[in-house]
Every structure is written in C-alpha cells, then in structure tokens.
Amino acid sequence: MAKRQNVELMVGAFVALGLVALFFLAMKVSNLSLSAGGEGYVLTARFTNVGSLKVRAPVTMAGVRIGRVESLRFDKTTYMAVVTMRVDAGIDAIPEDTFANIFTSGLLGEQYIGLEPGGSTDYLQDGGEIAHTQSALVLEQMIGQFLFKKAGESG
C-alpha cells in the first residue's frame, strides 16, 4: 500500500510540475496575458504603401500600445493597402479626423502604426475608417531623394 501511494504521489508531483512549467510558459513567457484582455473593436485605414508592416504589429497612440494590426489586404480597385486593426475596448473615443502614420521603431526596428488624435468631437465607431493616413517611409526612397537633391545642388 505504501508503495502504491508513493507512485501516486510521484505522478501527481510530476504532472503538477509539468503544468506549472506550461503555465509559466503561457503567462510569463508568451503574450497570452496581454492578448486576453478584451476583444476591442475594429478600425480600417488605407495606405498607399505599408512598407514592411506586419500582422500583429502594435497600434499606438502617444507611444502607448492601444491595439494591434489584425490583417493586411490589397485593394485592387484603388491600388491601396487596407489595414484592419483591433483597438482595445477601453479606448472608445478616437476622433474621426485622427491621423494614422506608419512609423519605424529605431533605425532597424519593426514598423508600427501611430495614431495622432484630431480635434473632432465625433468618434470612430466599430468598423470605422481612418481617412487621413501617411504611408511608411521607405528608406531606399528617402536616400534616393536625398542623393537626387544633393546632385541638383552641386550641379
């Protein structure tokens, strides 16, 4: 009987240890704790160029993350990129004339969407579209323009 209890004890301790490890991986290591909070609502925006923006990239306002990019799609009639983003439910007062920019964190960092609030008292609803957008700055284009300008000055 003592041996049998011993087996049960060891299996129980082992399984508990495994579950603790899984729980640690889920809550402390992965982003489960972050994404679990609230479903939020959806906004869309059209950009002429999204650069290397990725699904799940942060959507920020004043530098604080308020949502994530949910999907990227190409609109074949307007030749623009349609970005769908999910904003946390608590952030429910984004003015209609908000400006959406695609920024890069650091020189080589990942790209994210930065929202700059406008002054309107009408707020964007679920499924609303942000009308004012500024495309991603593509580094090669900027360098090209810079060189072109320099060449023009010296010549």
């Binding site: 049998r4 087996v7 299996v11 082992f14 490890a21 290591v29 799940r56």
Partner: protein, 260 residues
Amino acid sequence: MLLDPIATLGRAVLASLTRLGRANLLLVDILRGTGEIFRHPRLLGEQIVNIGVLSLLIVGVSGLFVGMVLGLQGYYVLAQFGAEESLGVMVAASLVRELGPVVAALLVAGRAGSALTAEIGLMKATEQLSGLEMMAVDPVRRVLTPRFYGGVLAMPMLAAIFSAVGILGGYFVGVGLLGVDTGAFWSQMQAKIDFAEDVVNGVIKSLAFGVVVTWIALFQGYDSAPTSVGVSRSTTRSVVHAALVVLGLDFVLTALMFGD
C-alpha cells in the same frame, strides 16, 4: 551470379518494409489496448514514474545549462548590434520552439527509451511475454500499452519543464551576470512570443516526439532477437533510430508550423 547484388538490394528493401509493417501493426495493437489503462491506471502511473519522474533530473539540469549557454552566447552576439534587450526573446523562442521539445526527446530516448527496449527485449528473451500469453494475458495490452502512454504523456511535461528551466537559466546569466535589464528581458519576450504560435506548437511537437520515441523503443524491444546480442543490438538501434527520427521529424514539423 550477375543478378546477386540486385537480389541483395531487393532483400534489404523488402526486409525494411516488413519491419515497418510489423512496427505499424504493433502500434495498432498498442492503441487497441487503450482501454487497459482505464481499467488499470496504476500501470500507467508506474510508467509515468519510470519515464517521466526518473528523467526529471537529467532534463532539468540539461535545461538549466542549455539556457545558461544560450544566454551567454546570445548576449555576446546581440551586444555587437546593441540589441541585448532582445536576449529574452532569443532564449525563449529557441527553447520553446526547438530546443525544449527536441533535446528533451533526445534525452528521454537515451535515458528511458533504451531502458524500455532492454526491458521488453529481456522479457522476450526470458520468455516472460510468452508466459503472460500462456496465462491468457495479452502482453501488448498489459506491458506495452501502459509504457506507450506513459511516454506520450510524460514527454510534453518534460519538454515544458526543460523550456521553463532553460528560460530561468538564461535569465540568471543574462540579467544576473551580464546586466541585461530585467523589465526589457521579460517584456520583449512577452511581446514577441505568441502563445498559440510558439508555446502550443512546441507542445504539439513534443507530443509527436513522445509517440515516436516510445513507439520505436517498444518496437525494438518487442522485435529483438531473444538473445543477449539481440537485446544489446536492439537497445543501440532504439536510441539511434529515435534520435534520427526526432531530428528529421523536427525539420518537417518546423517547416509545417513556422513556414507560413
């Protein structure tokens, strides 16, 4: 004769195909005995102790040191780009996605798989399996099925423990010794590691490795020649085949899971 080499080749191919067929039949038999572990849960418990609990020490210590080495090496490389803050992401991603499931499977194949093969092989050589059959007890259900499920259930636990201990090891080296910022270590990790994409896929991987490693170990034991040489050969083959299949399967699973 002229055709002898071709016949030899054909014989070799046929022999390995028959062995594969026997292995599959054995797996079907093992799975058909699943009800046995509900009737005798104690048998399963003993095997989880055998395969899981007794592998804890080697898995935990290996995880700790693998994590510490990852922290050390990762820091030196990342520091060249001024990206030490990403150390947490690097350590966690490589452990959760790859090293946890793979190294835990290799360790279990060496520590528990070889023991399973030798045990079953000796049972066969000393005619204990035939003895069971004489008593109208199905040796596959009674002996193999609990060992199979013990291995399959223990593997994800061991892989998760390996990853968790490894991340703590990387944390001690990175934050404790080399001075990476604690907040950046954890927050970058949480921002970049996805639960469904990384953690769940790691668990699925280790489940697949658990099936493969215990299946190979049990089959090699069950199929071994009933002599001391046969058992020793089977034990070697068990570890070698399990290691090769785990590494090959890992490539396939990685390509399927993370290759979008």
